[in-house]
């Protein structure tokens, strides 16, 4: 069989300017950072991002000028930084287009797309400005098929006229990029720990690219099919990328990197410092090997390694 393994750079090069894309993970865990860095090195422009609670993955892409429009619920690294610095500046300077939803409604939108239905009903959002306010204009929506023609639709249930729900429109993207613990050359994928919305993001994308800490034999993952939540037939390309989520965590593999996160967040508050960060860690290095060297190499990585049975690093110094 041909196999689905692909080099990381080749996989990133599949994403053209203007592509619609969703990125796996949640705030501080399992973002495909190595893939993100490649997109920045490639100088991609005008990307359309769809997400629920991204973190520095989106923030660094936005700062690098790769992004035209986002639909999201949240953009921050939680306790590490309560708002993404580049996201905040991009909005305040009108350098980006965006639409606000909640986590549930965004995940419901991915789920509708994954399920092949045009919308999902939810009981959230009612009474909030997420319903009353729209950031994208009707003209922006109609001019661009990459965005739903309407933000949402409020309706009463045909089974009980006193029962109101909000229909949120399905998302379909050209690409979904996930970072997981284990995958195989056949596209079988193992996610350990929380799955976030990775499964739904994969299932509503035309092309699914999975970066994985380890490539294992297909039979190994097929021995426990209950733990492989993404049907392999939906996975197009698999890249082996150890430490591919750094500086974010990967359950059972390594913890988040408080030093690197602090350096990013402090740099990203300032335009020139952010540029220097990009130069030092992303565009000034050739590839993921160069990145891992730049952040401190094996000594730094060793300090983050997860300890069984925790799946994280219990002795990690987190307030640095």
């Amino acid at each position: 069989m041909a196999g689905k393994l692909m080099d990381l750079k080749a996989a990133a090069a599949l994403v053209p300017d203007g592509a619609t894309i969703s990125i796996g993970g949640f705030t501080t865990q399992r973002h495909p950072m190595a893939f993100i860095y490649e997109l920045i090195r490639l100088g991609r422009r005008d990307l359309y991002l769809f997400g629920h609670s991204p973190g520095g993955d989106w923030d660094i892409l936005i700062g690098a000028g790769c992004v035209k429009r986002v639909e999201l619920a949240y953009e921050a690294d939680e306790a590490f930084n309560t708002v993404g610095p580049r996201w905040r500046r991009a909005v305040e300077r009108s350098e980006i287009e965006w639409e606000d939803y909640s986590n549930f409604s965004m995940v419901a939108r991915f789920t509708a797309g994954a399920m092949g239905i045009p919308f999902m009903p939810v009981r959230s959002l009612l009474g909030s400005d997420l319903i009353r306010q729209e950031t994208l204009t009707p003209e922006q929506r109609f001019a661009d098929p990459r965005t739903s023609p309407r933000k949402l639709h409020v309706m009463d249930s045909p089974f009980n006229p006193l029962d109101r729900v909000v229909l949120v429109p399905a998302i379909h993207t050209e690409f979904a990029v996930l970072h997981v613990q284990k995958a195989t050359d056949q596209g079988t994928v193992r996610i350990e720990g929380q799955t976030f919305a990775d499964v739904q993001q994969a299932m509503c994308a035309d092309v699914v690219i999975v970066t994985a800490e380890e490539i294992v034999e297909d039979d190994v993952l097929r021995a426990e099919p209950e733990r492989n939540p993404i049907p392999s037939l939906a996975v197009n390309h698999v890249c082996r990328v150890p430490y591919g989520a750094h500086p974010y965590a990967v359950f059972n593999y390594y913890d988040y990197d408080p030093l690197q996160l602090k350096e990013y967040h402090e740099s990203a508050k300032d335009d020139a410092a952010y540029r220097r960060y990009l130069d030092r860690y992303v565009v000034g290095v050739k590839d993921q090997v160069g990145y891992l060297e730049a952040i401190g190499g094996s000594a730094r990585l060793e300090s983050l390694k997860a300890k069984p049975p925790f799946g994280y690093r219990p002795d990690l110094k987190r307030r640095v």
Binding site: S124, S128, F251, R318
Partner: protein, 256 residues
């Protein structure tokens, strides 16, 4: 000046913990809510169940998480899945007793803004992270507890953007919006605890923190409200502080 026996963060964590009853299902976000629920579990609510929106049910936390997507929330969890399972099977289905919320602005009806400052959200003067799961918790938990910094500009008559609906315009307006349950039960602030009158959802001051007066709280608030009748917040007990410092957050992640 003598060193105070506890910090404001410690006081708020203790007050938040007291709002949780034993056996309740608690939807906890990052920061003070995590301190509150972990403290409650170790004192009066050993059977309360913690839900994290990123996908876990009934974690037995060994280390304080720094995000709801932290690998630490996996410790001892009964179920791990994704956001959709938590938001639908648990939250939307009505199984969450208490949700915690916070934000940049809170108004007299407990509506919260965590989106942006300015009259036009398309041209904000300050942009925040956005809702995350806050709007969903505000809509779908049986009740919510709001954690807020008490400053006049943060407690305006009306928030600039209703990210998380509270009692909306008071009275029956929340039900009329189509929301099927919930609403804020209290706002734990840096100055006291705000609650809402059952009949019309008007805010009133239930307690003011030690060292303050009802008048001082009123002056730090951007809307007129009833502050008379408030009592002093019972200060943290030594045992509460010990557990908070030694068991819940020995790394001083949030207790700084």
């Amino acid at each position: 000046m003598a060193t105070p026996r506890y910090t404001l963060t410690e006081l708020m964590a203790v007050v938040a913990a007291r709002e949780i009853a034993d056996g309740e299902v608690v939807f906890a976000g990052t920061g003070l809510p995590m301190l509150g629920v972990m403290l409650a579990q170790r004192i009066h609510a050993p059977r309360c169940i913690i839900i994290f929106e990123a996908g876990t049910v009934a974690s037995r936390l060994a280390h304080l998480p720094m995000s709801v997507g932290d690998p630490r929330v996996m410790r001892g969890a009964a179920t791990a899945a994704g956001l959709m399972e938590v938001f639908t099977f648990v939250l939307q289905a009505g199984r969450v007793d208490v949700g915690f919320l916070s934000g940049a602005q809170v108004d007299r009806f407990g509506n919260i803004n965590s989106t942006s400052i300015g009259s036009d959200p398309r041209r904000p003067s300050v942009r925040f992270s956005g809702s995350g799961g806050a709007c969903d918790i505000a809509c779908l938990a049986r009740r919510t507890i709001i954690i807020a910094k008490h400053e006049k500009r943060r407690f305006p008559e009306k928030v600039d953007y209703v990210t998380s609906p509270g009692w909306l315009a008071g009275g029956t307006s929340r039900t009329e919006s189509g929301l099927i349950r919930g609403g804020p039960s209290s706002v734990v602030t840096t100055m006291g605890v705000m609650r809402f009158r059952p009949e019309n959802k008007e805010a009133y001051l239930a307690s003011f923190h030690p060292g303050l007066t009802p008048q001082a709280v009123a002056e730090a608030t951007g809307f007129p409200w009833a502050v008379t009748g408030a009592t002093e917040t019972p200060p943290p007990a030594d045992e509460e502080l010990r557990i908070l410092r030694e068991d819940v957050d020995p790394e001083r992640i949030f207790l700084r």
